[in-house]
């Protein structure tokens, strides 16, 4: 019998902290939604003890964020729970756009093969949170405390004092850092007197999740001005358990209370499905939205992530997906700082990079919304002109905007990047998230991405045109056993052979020449890849000095200072953080260890 995640109630348990005076923890994460859970799991499985607080005792109410993007699934893989998500979720790559009752174009979000994950899965948010919560429960150094509401917050020089209300009354604990992942109505943000700025859109939308046996294909269908809902838009998505999400645009004048009543909702659904359709309403919600963000995602020792920091329209699925990218960006930086491997300034780059990403998401989301909901008569005329042209003209299909679906931001202006000094073609520029590729490892088929991430990785490509020297192998091994965790990965193209001792170096076979193509590799080409799988630097030739300099830059170390734990950032033993290469590390590198 499958767990009923929708009605699951988690027990409040009294924590030993409640009977002690202000116990200090390395990290307190506020909010056990997808972003808070992802952050906490990432930290905990890398040896950083985490306290995760949630003011409630249940998972997402309603299906809410249902579209989880390829990048999110890649991140969940590193968190050890992607398989359950993809097994349960409905995978899709294709979207269709209709004008009135006519199909005007079809798009495929993942037209090329050679990726482990689909472009998207649709999965109710309560499943995502449920699977993450179960993963969290496996980690002994992650304490998930339900019914713990943050009611006070005070920043001190070396910690934040967090006051928490529980069914047993209040208690206080100390955190070196607080991650506020407590949603769009963030209590932490309010307690700190901070706000968000942006645009509120004057439109209302109705979500009707209906349970039915239907023949629609597993695709995203978007209608402009359909005969069954004239002058407005409608979006249809399939979810697991025979549930279908129907999103009706209602207009600003719609009454949000009245429109939720079944007598209003049922005729709208019947108009789409037909009078004889048999279905039941699973969840109904009327919503409005804003595209907005906090001016700064970092305030001292408090870091904002997910909806607490930024908000977008639902079109494009950029809310939860960008929040999980926040978690991915933040977790390794917190770990590096807490373990004394990087200066506190590395956390400033979290804010810098993710504010940049939020701006990109807000820009895309605002443009989609302006197309779907024209704000003036002339805007509507151009919108309709583009739609009408799209039936016959390819170019106009690219103008039609029913949502630009979430793809991870290329952190192109990050201070952590080492700018290119050599020429490369393709998409893997410094700041780009690494793309997947089919590889062979230990004589069996696999994927590239599981071999990257968790730690820094230095990837070197070799093929038959140049011998792999003992000097190169020696220097790679030197990097991998250095003070800053950095794995060495050798990617072998056609004709490459290695006979030397490869202990300490992972080896992948680029059997389909896909890694070489997607990363524009030639013999000797070298990439430095961050723990969150973003490209930090790349060169045509490997040089240990340049890798070390790029590594120092990628952890925000001041110029001239090479990686290594300086005295001022020695690990804080009282926090009981484990060394950077702990046993937990194998969670990420399993399958990535050398088989030689």
């Amino acid at each position: 019998m499958e767990t009923d995640y929708q009605n699951l109630v988690f027990e409040y348990r009294r924590a030993p902290d409640q009977d002690a005076a202000a116990v200090r923890h390395p990290v307190v994460v506020v909010g056990a939604g997808p972003v808070g859970l992802a952050t906490a799991i990432d930290l905990a499985q890398h040896g950083v003890p985490v306290v995760l607080l949630d003011d409630d005792c249940s998972l997402s109410s309603g299906s809410r964020a249902i579209c989880f993007a390829k990048r999110t699934l890649e991140i969940f893989e590193r968190l050890g729970c992607d398989t359950r998500m993809t097994d349960k979720g409905v995978s899709w790559n294709v979207g269709k756009v209709f004008l009135q009752d006519e199909l005007i174009y079809t798009f495929n979000l993942l037209a090329e093969s050679g990726h482990a994950k689909p472009a998207f899965i649709n999965l109710q948010q309560y499943y995502v949170e449920g699977y993450l919560a179960e993963r969290a429960a496996q980690l002994p150094n992650l304490q998930l405390r339900w019914k713990n509401r943050v009611v006070g917050l005070q920043q001190q020089d070396d910690h934040v004092a967090v006051t928490i209300d529980t069914p047993d009354g209040e208690y206080t604990l100390q955190a070196r850092y607080v991650v506020a992942a407590d949603g769009s109505r963030s209590a932490v943000r309010k307690l700190m007197g901070l706000d968000t700025q942006g645009r509120v859109f004057k439109d209302r939308f109705l979500i009707a999740d209906v349970k039915m046996k239907a023949e629609f294909p597993t695709e995203r269908w978007f209608w402009f001005d359909p005969p069954f809902h004239p002058n407005q838009s409608v979006l249809l998505h399939r979810q697991p358990d025979n549930v279908w999400r129907i999103d009706f645009q209602l207009g600003w004048d719609a009454d949000p209370v009245l429109e939720k009543q079944p007598e209003r909702v049922l005729p709208r659904v019947r108009a789409l499905l037909g009078e004889d359709a048999e279905f039941e309403l699973e969840w109904v919600s009327v919503y409005t939205f804003a595209c907005q963000r906090m001016a700064k995602f970092r305030h001292g020792r408090v870091l904002f992530a997910g909806d607490s920091a930024h908000g977008v329209s639902p079109f494009g699925a950029r809310g939860a997906n960008s929040g999980v990218q926040d978690a991915d960006n933040l977790a390794w930086k917190l770990r590096w700082v807490l373990q004394g491997l990087a200066p506190d300034a590395l956390l400033d780059t979290y804010a810098h990079e993710r504010e940049f990403a939020a701006d990109e998401n807000i820009l895309n989301s605002s443009r989609s919304t302006d197309f779907i909901t024209p704000k003036s008569e002339i805007s509507r005329i151009f919108r309709d002109a583009a739609l009408r042209l799209a039936k016959d003209c390819q170019f106009a299909r690219r103008i039609v905007n029913s949502g630009r679906l979430s793809i991870p931001t290329v952190l192109s202006d990050s201070p952590l990047n080492t700018p290119d000094s050599d020429h490369f073609d393709g998409a893997m520029v410094p700041g780009a998230p690494c793309t997947d590729a089919s590889i062979r490892h230990c004589a069996s088929a696999g994927w590239l991405l599981p071999h990257l991430g968790g730690a820094f990785t230095v990837l070197v490509y070799a093929d038959g045109t140049r011998p792999i020297t003992a000097e190169l192998l020696g220097e790679l091994r030197e990097l991998s056993s250095g003070t800053t965790p950095c794995r060495a990965l050798l990617v072998l193209g056609a004709g490459a052979s290695v006979s030397d001792d490869l202990s300490g170096i992972s080896v992948l076979e680029d059997h389909a020449a896909m890694v070489a193509l997607r990363y524009d590799l030639q013999a000797g080409s070298c990439y430095l890849i961050r723990p969150d799988q973003h490209v930090a630097a790349r060169w045509r030739d490997f040089s240990i000095d340049r890798v070390r300099q790029a590594l120092a830059r990628a952890i925000a170390r001041p110029p001239g200072q090479l990686p290594g734990p300086p005295a001022s950032h020695a690990p804080h033993t009282e926090l009981e953080t484990q060394p950077a290469f702990s046993t937990a590390q194998t969670v990420h590198t399993k399958g990535a260890e050398s088989c030689n």
Binding site: R199, K375, S376, F382, A385, L389, C393, R404
Partner: protein, 84 residues
């Protein structure tokens, strides 16, 4: 300035006549739709965002918004949204 504001049409009178004829017998609403489609078609033909921005700025030059401007600021022109 990349926008060509020097004469480029071999027969300006014929162009102008064709433009007016395009709207023959249309209501104002239909004419607006036809104009909008024409602008989209020509924009794609030009295909150069700098030229198009210059043309847009020149077209709007000297025209002040009425007392009741649309309250919504236009999303700032930054990096292009990636089309999927």
């Amino acid at each position: 300035m990349q926008l060509n504001t020097e004469p480029n049409l071999p027969n300006p009178d014929a162009f102008y006549e064709a433009l007016i004829e395009m709207h023959q017998d249309l209501s104002v609403a239909d004419s607006q739709m036809v104009n909008a489609k024409l602008i989209l078609l020509l924009g794609n033909q030009i295909g150069d965002m700098d030229v198009l921005r210059e043309a847009m700025a020149l077209a709007r030059k000297g025209i002040t918004p009425a007392a009741n401007p649309a309250a919504n600021p236009v999303a700032s022109a930054g990096s292009e949204g990636r089309t999927i």
